[in-house]
């Protein structure tokens, strides 16, 4: 049972990784002049949308958290709306944090906001898919030993990796190398993307290696 789950997780994560790679490669064929560096904002949009869609589809197909009770359509819609609001709020919060970190308040608002959308896609969207708009569950998952399934462990790892990636991505900004990728927010969004991809790959491997120690208590 567990082995099968891990394999499913691995496959799902690989799909996400491929979707990230495809967003960097495919648009160049369809749209003349597209480069990840040159038209970075466009890439940010495409990447966010693609990763978001893939995540939602995977969630619908795999159904990692089997909800015990079937709910009405109205309930589902309200859940969906709540998710949308949460996602939007997380974008705002990320934007605020980035500004607090020193991004210009008025200049380059688009760049900062798109970057925060990307970060939200990598972190909040996944949480929303997996846990729903339930803050208590979020707090539980992101505390020590709070995960109750391999899906939640994977969620923990990818989220933390994405944020750490974005954090590390800010390091080269003060260097005076004058490289195109030092322009705001390219290095940070690259960092976040690499962190996300690394998290996706690491998570199943880590779970595989530690499968003996991992015991999930059911709630």
């Amino acid at each position: 049972m567990k082995e099968v789950e891990v394999r499913r997780l691995f496959a799902a994560n690989l799909l996400c990784v491929f979707s990230v790679i495809l967003t960097a490669v495919v648009p160049a064929f369809l749209w003349d002049g597209f480069t990840v560096l040159g038209t970075h904002l466009a890439w940010l949009c495409i990447c966010s949308v693609c990763v978001g869609t893939v995540n939602v589809i995977l969630h619908l197909v795999l159904k990692p958290n089997r909800s015990p009770k079937r709910s009405s359509l109205a309930h589902k819609i309200s859940r969906f709306l709540k998710c949308c609001i949460y996602f939007f709020m997380s974008c705002i919060v990320f934007h605020a944090i980035i500004v607090l970190y020193g991004a210009p308040l008025l200049g380059s608002v688009t760049e900062t906001f798109l970057f925060s959308v990307l970060l939200s896609t990598f972190t909040t969207l996944q949480c929303l898919c997996m846990l729903g708009p339930n803050i208590q569950a979020w707090i539980r998952v992101f505390s020590k030993n709070g995960a109750t399934s391999i899906w939640e462990s994977s969620l923990q790892i990818t989220t933390v990796c994405s944020i750490l990636g974005a954090w590390f991505g800010a390091f080269p900004i003060p260097l005076d190398w004058d490289r195109p990728w030092q322009v705001w927010p390219i290095s940070c969004s690259f960092g976040a993307t690499f962190g996300y991809v690394a998290g996706l790959i690491i998570a199943p491997l880590w779970i595989h290696w530690n499968r003996k120690q991992l015991t999930y208590k059911s709630r």
Partner: protein, 967 residues
């Protein structure tokens, strides 16, 4: 010998101070190549003797002057594009016309960093490159004792007149027959300083009784400092300068005799950066225009781009032009076009003199120069034989070329020698610093144990064989190095007694380290139980603190990270706040989960929660808890939310402070609140802000002071406002017309009295608690009063637009104490490191950077009539390091209030503070030694080294104070 951690850390720091001082002395050598002055026309070489018998050159004396009168117009902070660029075209039409069509030569003179006025004047007049340390040592610019152009001119009987910056008057006392020094004290003065120079001009130009006129205009520099290079004021100032140049030029032309022309030199001492400041080595700061205007020059087609020369070249060129010997320490080359109109023989003679002087300064013969000399001799032979002029001219050009190449090599090897390091002293300093660091690192486990004291084995190492062996070996090395060293070495020049003392210190430290290592091995052989436990219990904060410290230390190796160090600290404290927020969330929400529903009975709640209740409220409140539970519950609820919000409020404060002062290099030109506030249109806003800030400071500080101190504090803060009003920074609401500006001596001294009063009353309380009773209440009041005295002093010294920094500093400290550290019960080590980080961040928040240019020297003049060395240095250092100092003092206040919980808190804090300071210093010193030939060593790494060195001195003082209050 048993030592407490605090005592141990302070003594370690004191030893480290010695090491740092030794290293700095070796790294910033006093100029080695400083030949003493000599008589004006002493041992000058004759022309190279032509080979063959019977022929002797008749030119043995110094050549006669080429120009009758020379006027030097030095415009402070004149950047090259102000004259040669679009600004010059627009605002300096006359100068532009002279450059393009008239008889002039234009160059771009490259200034060497530090681009500060005083060293640049020295470079212009002596032709040498003043050492970096000159800026620090000579803030009061005492008389210049090296051989220089002014001295030579005076000795040769030239009459010199000077008007302008009084730095010159201090550098060259009694050299000028007539002078009027203007002081650069009020940076916001744009017109007066220059009018004081110009008012003499008409009179002087009519007179005939002078040979050299020097004018130093300061207005442009002041405009640059206050409003930046792109302000409309710059254009107006340039136009004014253009008119002055026109007046001088026309007047010089009108009195000229054809055979003996006059010369007008226009130059800048340094440029300005895009923000209008200077001191660093950006292209704007380094490139200054250099114009020679004289009717003796031939008219020529305008060059598209002026040639690049060194600033030091001016001294040699002017010496030749005035018929003076070239200054002995000059490393400059003669600018040949200026003497291009003379005969070939004269030109050769000039470059020969220049080459002779350079090779003498270098104290070795260069083959290129020797070759030039011999071909020169041959040329003279041909000349004296009366050969064909055509061949002679071509041959002469060849010789000239050889000479110029030789001059270039000579200059470059001399410039390299200026940066010669005293490696031996540096090494000794580094060894001491590294040993201290190792000792501190090895004693971490013991020093941070709950007892915070440990056995320092003194006798075994002092009597061991190893100690004596190492001592002997070091002494042998010392003898060998000192007898074989060619260059001057500071450590060798010390007396034998001191040197042996240092050697013994080094070997004692080494033995101490070895015994510490041996002890840890002994301990590790015993069965170990704790390590596994301790390594797994690392919280996120610990990880962040460790990673941040290591990351910051590593980042010091990259010049951009040193330039932009403030970014590192802002980044780190932001992350720290976020991690603290996460920690608080966990404390508030997660522990609740194990708690039953809130609606349970009061009794059950108080029993169950006894484990975590203390988290939200101070332990002392526990007894009251049962009585006023219902209201307490409510307070607790609101407290919780304030506690959760506090990291975010701190983050917002930091973001606001960050946009108050833009520092660093890359983004320093960005607009910030500080510039907006200091511009003259926003004086009323600045006044309002200053008043509000002073009020806030009072409210934040007074709550823990005694009544007398409260009153003193209030009066002191009022005094600060009236001081700022007196010197014209802020205005009183009832005062509308412009009042005359004074130095505000009385007001500042009024504040000083209150500062001293508060500090004394605090010290009295401290002493009382030490000697008579060990009442912790008296002690903490005393500490807080000392702290508030320092806050008052900082408020006096800070520029008014920086007062919010002080307010936010106090606000953050209060919030951190109340809502974060107390509830989280962080350990002393964690709190110390957080204080250190915030202190570093506030160092940059107040507008400092790792460049010399941002040091606010005006703080050293507050309340003083004139420059007095010791108080000025003390005040400047205090104002510069106010951020770290205030945070360190707050740490002391906080830790001694926590003594009831952890009796060793102060000792732990002191130890951690010492460790946090010695780690970056030790690593940075090793890095700088490795990077000493880096391109940016003088512009980026050396200023940072000075900052680090001074910071070590200050930290040592702080740790001593810690230790004194500890017992």
């Amino acid at each position: 010998m048993r030592l407490r951690s605090g005592v141990f850390a302070s003594s370690c720091l004191l030893v480290e101070v010695l090491g740092v001082a030794l290293f700095l002395r070796g790294f910033f050598p006093v100029p080695v190549r400083s030949l003493p002055r000599r008589e004006a026309r002493g041992d000058l070489p004759a022309e190279p003797a032509p080979p063959g018998p019977g022929m002797v050159s008749n030119w043995t004396k110094i050549p006669p002057p080429l120009f009758k009168k020379v006027v030097i117009v030095l415009i402070d902070a004149l950047r090259d594009d102000f004259v040669f660029g679009s600004k010059g075209e627009q605002f300096m039409p006359y100068t532009k016309q002279v450059i393009e069509k008239g008889t002039s030569y234009s160059f771009i003179a490259e200034a060497k960093p530090p681009t500060v006025t005083m060293p640049r004047i020295k470079a212009l007049m002596t032709g040498s490159i003043p050492g970096f340390i000159d800026v620090i040592v000579n803030l009061n610019s005492p008389a210049l004792l090296d051989d220089n152009l002014i001295w030579q001119a005076k000795t040769a009987g030239k009459r010199i007149i000077f008007y302008g910056d009084d730095t010159w008057v201090k550098l060259f006392p009694k050299h000028f027959v007539e002078y009027d020094g203007t002081t650069s004290f009020f940076v916001s003065d744009f017109t007066e300083v220059d009018d004081n120079v110009t008012r003499h001009l008409d009179r002087v130009l009519k007179r005939e009784d002078w040979d050299l006129l020097i004018l130093h205009y300061l207005g442009l520099d002041h405009i640059g400092h206050v409003t930046g290079p792109n302000s409309p004021l710059v254009g107006a100032k340039l136009r004014e300068m253009d008119n002055i140049l026109k007046k001088i030029h026309i007047s010089l032309l009108s009195k000229e005799e054809a055979s003996f022309p006059n010369l007008l030199v226009v130059c800048g001492d340094h440029g300005m950066s895009e923000t209008g400041s200077h001191g660093g080595s950006s292209a704007g700061e380094v490139h200054t225009p250099l114009l020679f205007i004289s009717s003796s020059f031939e008219k020529r087609s305008p060059l598209t781009h002026p040639e690049l020369v060194q600033q030091t070249d001016l001294a040699s060129t002017l010496a030749v032009g005035l018929g003076l010997p070239i200054s002995r320490n000059s490393v400059g080359n003669l600018i040949l076009p200026v003497v291009g109109g003379r005969t070939m023989r004269e030109q050769l003679r000039f470059v020969h003199l220049n080459g002779f002087q350079l090779s003498r300064l270098l104290q070795e013969n260069t083959p290129a120069y020797e070759k030039g000399k011999s071909s020169h001799a041959n040329w003279i032979k041909l000349y004296l034989e009366g050969n064909n002029s055509e061949i002679l001219l071509n041959l002469g050009k060849k010789v000239l070329k050889q000479y110029l190449e030789a001059l270039k090599t000579l200059s470059s090897s001399l410039s390299k020698q200026v940066a010669q390091y005293d490696m031996y002293s540096m090494m000794v300093g580094t060894v001491i610093i590294l040993e201290v660091l190792l000792l501190l690192l090895l004693s971490i486990p013991k020093a941070l144990s709950s007892r915070a004291e440990f056995e320092v084995p003194l006798s075994p190492p002092l009597f061991s064989l190893l100690f004596y062996l190492v001592c002997l070996m070091l002494c042998a090395v010392h003898v060998i190095v000192c007898t074989s060293a060619e260059s001057l070495c500071y450590f060798c020049s010390m007396s034998w007694f001191t040197a042996v003392g240092v050697m013994m210190l080094i070997s004692a430290l080494m033995c101490g380290i070895l015994s510490a290592i041996a002890k840890t091995f002994d301990n590790s052989r015993l069965p170990v139980k704790n390590p596994v436990l301790s390594s797994s219990s690392w919280s996120e904060i610990d990880v962040l603190i460790l990673a941040g410290t290591v990351g910051h230390v590593l980042s010091l190796g990259a010049s951009s990270f040193v330039e932009e160090e403030h970014q590192t600290w802002y980044f780190l404290i932001n992350t720290l706040c976020l991690v603290l927020c996460q920690e608080l969330c966990r404390n508030n929400f997660l522990l609740k989960e194990y708690d039953p529903q809130h609606s349970t009975t009061v009794k059950q709640n108080s029993e169950e929660a006894s484990g975590y209740k203390n988290i939200d409220i101070p332990a002392a409140d526990n007894s009251k808890l049962s009585k006023t539970f219902t209201s307490d519950e409510f307070v607790r609820g609101s407290d919780k939310w304030v506690s959760l919000a506090s990291p975010w409020i701190i983050l917002i404060c930091c973001r606001l402070l960050r946009s108050l002062n833009q520092t660093g290099v890359q983004w320093a030109h960005r607009p910030d609140f500080g510039h907006w506030l200091t511009s003259s249109e926003h004086k009323s806003e600045l006044s309002f802000l200053a008043a509000v800030s002073l009020l806030m400071i009072f409210f934040l500080v007074q709550r823990r002071c005694s009544l007398v101190s409260k009153i003193a504090m209030a009066l002191g803060l009022l005094g600060i406002y009236s001081y700022r009003a007196a010197i014209g920074n802020v205005i009183f609401p009832w005062q509308h017309g412009s009042k005359d500006i004074s130095k505000g001596i009385t007001e500042a001294r009024f504040v000083y009295i209150f500062v001293l009063g508060i500090v004394f009353s605090g010290t009295k309380d401290l002493l009382k608690s030490q000697v008579i009773s060990s009442d912790s209440g008296v002690k903490s009041t005393g500490l807080w009063e000392v702290y508030s005295g320092l806050v008052l002093l900082a408020a006096l010294l800070f520029r008014p637009h920086n007062l919010p920094v002080l307010v936010f500093c106090l606000l953050i400290q209060t919030m951190m104490t109340k809502y974060i550290w107390r509830p989280l019960k962080s350990g002393a080590a964690q709190i110390t490191i957080m204080h250190y980080w915030f202190g570093q961040a506030f160092f940059y928040f107040q507008g400092n950077s790792n460049g010399i240019a941002t040091v606010d020297v005006s703080a050293g003049f507050v309340g003083l009539e004139s420059y007095v060395e010791i108080p000025a240095i003390f005040l400047t250092a205090f104002a510069t390091y106010a951020g770290p100092l205030l945070w360190a003092f707050h740490l002391l206040c906080y830790l001694s209030s926590e003594v009831s919980r952890n009796s060793a808190a102060v000792g732990h804090g002191c130890f951690c503070y010492a460790l946090m300071r010695s780690l970056p210093v030790a690593v940075y010193i090793v890095l700088v030694t490795g990077l000493r030939y880096h391109l940016f060593i003088w512009s980026v790494f050396s200023p940072k080294l000075l900052y680090e060195g001074v910071h070590v001195f200050i930290t040592a003082a702080i740790c001593l104070f810690f230790t004194m209050t500890e017992s």
